[in-house]
Subunit: 337 residues, 2 copies
């Protein structure tokens, strides 16, 4: 969590890991143990090293203890499931919500590929449309009721063809579970295809979401690959999964090309190739493309703290591997033939 600055569905309202880390105990490359950050909410005492170690992916030190800030648990939550005949309208619904301003606790977008996969694999019964948004609000009961009405109104104004509302925990769990099954469900969409975690964690400025999802679909079409797009739209974090034929070298080649184009599109929209999972190996070349001027500073810090390169060597900006050879979830051996 801390080493990758991980986050998830609710970061739009509650922030990412970096926003909660107050202090860390870290073992450095030379074996010494240091304490960075403080036990206090406020801290202006020298470099904010605790925030530097957050997201450093084990390349600067090994985190052995974490002091976190906590947030009060919300008393109630409720959800709106809005269906859109046009993907762009779903994207606009997200921007319209944020500009109310209303900060939902989660806003999950799913395109038609994801909807179809989930309906087929887990009989989720989601509306058969081009895109849906699952919008969750939480907090004090009165506020939740008020915000629900606003969300419903914004969804309709943004062009939703249907809007369902629920504060029933079972119904909400069903919707959430449908959303969470996207990744595995995509693997069952085409009999001969597997779902591959390529280009799976981009983030763009919120206003660029409609443009981004349209670009992803165009890139999929041009490369003749199937791409499912979903994600935590309200904070600009989008995932794509590609459906590839694991037995076809050509399919892998087209997929890899599409990944590069998707990352290029994200970078040109002012986004980042990884919003919540980190760079690791496979995204290293793209991170360096995203940050042509900053990675040398990262490297200088890496050398200062780990001169012999013994901590997670070769990761982040130093990797020269291939995005397919080093897949996060390898699946080339799934070729059934």
């Amino acid at each position: 969590m801390v080493a990758t600055n991980a986050s998830g569905m609710r970061a739009v309202k509650y922030g990412a890991t970096r926003d909660y880390v107050l202090g860390l105990e870290v073992v450095l490359a030379d074996g010494s143990v240091i304490h960075v950050g403080t036990n206090t909410i406020k801290n202006s005492s020298g470099y904010q090293l605790e925030r530097l170690f957050v997201g450093s992916e084990g390349t600067l030190g090994i985190i052995t203890e974490v002091t976190l800030k906590v947030a009060p648990k919300p008393k109630r939550s409720a959800m709106v499931l809005a269906a859109f005949d046009r993907l762009e309208d779903a994207g606009k619904c997200v921007s319209n919500l944020i500009s109310v301003p209303l900060i939902p606790s989660a806003t999950e977008l799913m395109d038609d590929i994801c909807i179809r996969a989930v309906n087929k694999a887990v009989k989720a019964g989601l509306p058969d449309v081009e895109a849906i948004c699952m919008i969750e609000v939480d907090g004090e009961p009165d506020m939740v009721a008020k915000e629900l009405k606003v969300v419903e109104e914004v969804a309709r104004r943004s062009g939703a063809s249907s809007v369902q509302v629920s504060d029933d925990s079972k119904q909400m769990a069903k919707w959430t579970s449908a959303r969470k099954s996207v990744m595995s469900a995509l693997s069952r969409l085409g009999d001969e295809l597997v779902s591959v975690s390529l280009a799976d964690d981009m983030a763009v400025p919120i206003s660029k979401i409609p443009e981004a999802v349209v670009a992803f679909h165009r890139i999929a079409e041009e490369n003749n690959v199937i791409v499912g797009t979903y994600g935590h739209a309200a904070d600009g974090n989008l995932h794509t999964k590609m459906l590839l034929d694991p037995c076809s070298e050509d399919s892998w080649t087209r997929g890899e090309r599409a990944v590069g184009q998707i990352f290029d599109a994200v970078i040109s929209l002012g986004g980042t190739v990884t919003g919540e999972h980190g760079v690791g190996m496979s995204k290293a070349p793209y991170m360096m493309r995203e940050r042509p001027d900053a990675w040398r500073t990262m490297l200088a810090i890496k050398k200062a703290l780990d001169p012999q390169d013994i901590l997670n060597p070769g990761k982040l900006m130093q990797w020269e591997g291939g995005i397919i050879r080093d897949l996060r979830y390898p699946c080339r051996d799934l070729c059934p033939r």
Copy 2:
């Protein structure tokens, strides 16, 4: 703001500068310009350099552009002014509020010295007690009304001898202005004394506030100096101002000794010598005492990014000056005699 990770009264609910900085343009020591962070809410793309430059006090680079996250403006706010006959009870009121849990937008504590000074200098008409808490809540009107009732109840339960409530903007501005005049008002408390910014920006874990304020009063008494304590108690951030005789060498000596003892008390309570203003010069020796194991890592990063030490040289952990010689607001020449 960014270079010191500044924050203020409302950080308890809204966070400090570090929580809002998404991206920065920075000029490095070698003259190159780099862009760190992203334009997105989420970012796990390599080292969180933008958070490292926050609070680096100009020693790692010169910040020339800032990309910030913004928060929606609250629709309404209201305040409770709770008076306490015992300073400790005021501290307990703060802990009790946080454990409701209720996150006020501000909680300003003032001890009897500060109250007396403000009542004398600006005729603020604050209750003549050992301590007061000004507690502000904000947000949606309904929620503000509800939270006000909870705050009032918690204040009474914590031993408040009187509780005033207001959502009138003029009354709230009057209370806030009284609080903001503490620093200058303290200079008028004793005819021959000046208010000195010594030990003015500590932060302790919230649960340690009662212990901290009691320790400050004991240290003042032992060193025969007058110390006013106030601050943003709900996030553990406490300020002290000392009243010294600018013409008396002995008074300065006692003041400097008291500062050291206050910082030692803060460190032993698990706190930090600077919550919101930064280390600069005068706090450098205390920061190194607070962080015996981490400042070498800071130094390694400083050397990696500024090998010739041309950026704000001697600041942060390298200063060997005296806390009186290098006062933030010099006032030794105010000796009227």
